[in-house]
């Protein structure tokens, strides 16, 4: 019985919310394993243009987990191909990337969804605790 209950808790508290979160991120269409790094990159570029290394260190500090160079550039290529970011002129081999208007709009929409998701969850947890 305990096992079943734990599995139920797992499904409700971990599996399903993470699926919802992934679904939201995946609205940046079909980015697969690059969906999460892509969202972090958009977030990192939201306060101004950055080049690859700066994005990498910034994302690692926000997310708290390492970001590999292959993953970084896989995500950058996808974001650029979809017009969410644009490349600026290289400065001494390093090429800065800038958020486009489309990218900013997309990021804002993602964050608004997440805020609604978080608020609903927190309210319900608060209600349950009362």
């Amino acid at each position: 019985l305990t096992g079943t209950f734990q599995r139920h808790i797992y499904r409700v508290t971990i599996y399903q919310p993470s699926r919802i979160a992934r679904r939201q991120v995946a609205d940046i269409p079909e980015l697969g394993r690059f969906a999460e790094p892509s969202l972090y990159i958009l977030l990192s570029l939201s306060d101004g243009p950055k080049h690859g290394y700066a994005i990498m260190t910034d994302v690692e500090s926000i997310s708290g987990s390492p970001l590999g160079p292959g993953t970084l550039y896989g995500a950058l290529a996808r974001l650029e191909a979809r017009g969410f970011i644009e490349a600026l002129e290289p400065e001494d081999r390093r090429r800065p990337y800038r958020l486009t208007a489309l990218g900013a709009t997309t990021l804002r929409a993602q964050l608004e969804q997440m805020r609604g998701f978080a608020r609903t969850g927190l309210e319900r947890l608060g209600d349950a605790g009362r």
């Binding site: 269409p29 079909e30 980015l31 697969g32 080049h51 690859g52 290394y53 990498m56 260190t57 390492p66 590999g68 160079p69 292959g70 993953t71 970084l72 550039y73 896989g74 950058l76 290529a77 996808r78 650029e80 191909a81 979809r82 017009g83 290289p90 001494d92 081999r93 390093r94 090429r95």
Partner: protein
């Protein structure tokens, strides 16, 4: 480090190599980073995000997949097999048995079965590659992808169809058109007409008409003597033929029907100078002409 970069496709390196190397100089990669770089190379090859000319191409969120290319190639092959099957069926051997005389298209069956499998795989793949948001229009979209390559590839809320799948659709449409044209051409060529071939001059008063591959050889004979001996040789194994001599609509003489290989003789026709024709009772399409000029 450059060894790992060589795993990336040319277009990717032209665009990213400099800044990628700069990044790696700022932070020398550890083992996990190297694994990640290799994974990135595989991804850059499978989902190149840009076309060969460097222009961005976010097709279906991941570029054209290898499996899409395989399925598209399969659809091309299936279309080709369909054509081959039609050609095989149209050119099948004439067969006469207890059911009558007909063209045997059994050789086309393996082609048709293989084509069916490949084309069905393409259609199934087309529907499976549609995003879940296309649930309601999945069936219709599949039909569109196959029969109408005009599907909007990335319109807002539109159905996204990959380039490979679109190519499959184009291939299917083109192959159907070509197949129709080919059948039309073959049908035209197969129209029964006057027998062609080199006229044969008979000198001795002895001539032989041969039935071979449901046709008379020679197709045209010219002769001076009127007291002809006409031998009939049926070379079509297992197929019955006879040789009937007509002057206009008047039947002058006929051999018995013989099943090949066999030889018989047309009995003693009395001929005056003029035009005659041979035909076969079993296969009225078989025609040959005989011109008696007189001495």
């Amino acid at each position: 480090m450059t060894a790992l970069l060589r795993l990336y496709p040319r277009a990717w390196r032209d665009r990213y190599e400099d800044e990628f190397l700069a990044l790696l100089e700022s932070r020398p990669p550890d083992v996990l980073d190297r694994v990640d770089i290799v994974r990135g190379a595989v991804d850059a090859r499978l989902h190149p995000q840009r076309r060969a000319d460097g222009a961005p191409d976010p097709t279906d969120g991941g570029g054209v997949r290898i499996s899409d290319r395989l399925v598209a190639a399969g659809v091309f092959l299936g279309a080709g097999l369909l054509l081959a099957g039609i050609v095989a069926a149209v050119n099948g051997p004439m067969v006469t048995d207890e059911h009558g005389t007909y063209r045997d298209g059994a050789a086309a069956l393996p082609f048709f079965v293989a084509a069916l499998v490949l084309l069905a795989a393409g259609a199934i793949r087309t529907t499976r590659r549609l995003p879940s948001s296309a649930d309601g229009t999945r069936g219709g979209a599949a039909m569109l992808a196959v029969f109408g390559p005009a599907t909007d590839p990335a319109g807002p809320g539109g159905v996204r169809v990959t380039r490979g799948v679109r190519r499959s659709g184009v291939a299917a449409v083109v192959s159907v058109i070509v197949a129709m044209a080919l059948v039309g051409a073959c049908g035209g060529a197969a129209e029964p007409g006057t027998p062609a071939g080199t006229p044969v001059q008979v000198v001795g008063g002895q001539m032989t008409v041969t039935a071979e591959a449901i046709a008379f050889v020679p197709a045209t004979t010219t002769t001076a003597p009127t007291d002809l001996t006409i031998a009939f040789e049926n070379k079509d194994a297992g197929i019955p033929h006879d040789l009937v001599l007509y002057a206009g609509d008047v039947k002058l003489a006929a051999t018995e029907i013989v099943t090949g290989p066999a030889t018989t003789t047309l009995s003693d026709p009395k001929l005056v100078p003029g035009d005659y024709r041979f035909t076969c009772t079993v296969h009225p399409n078989m025609q040959a002409s005989l011109l008696v000029t007189g001495s």
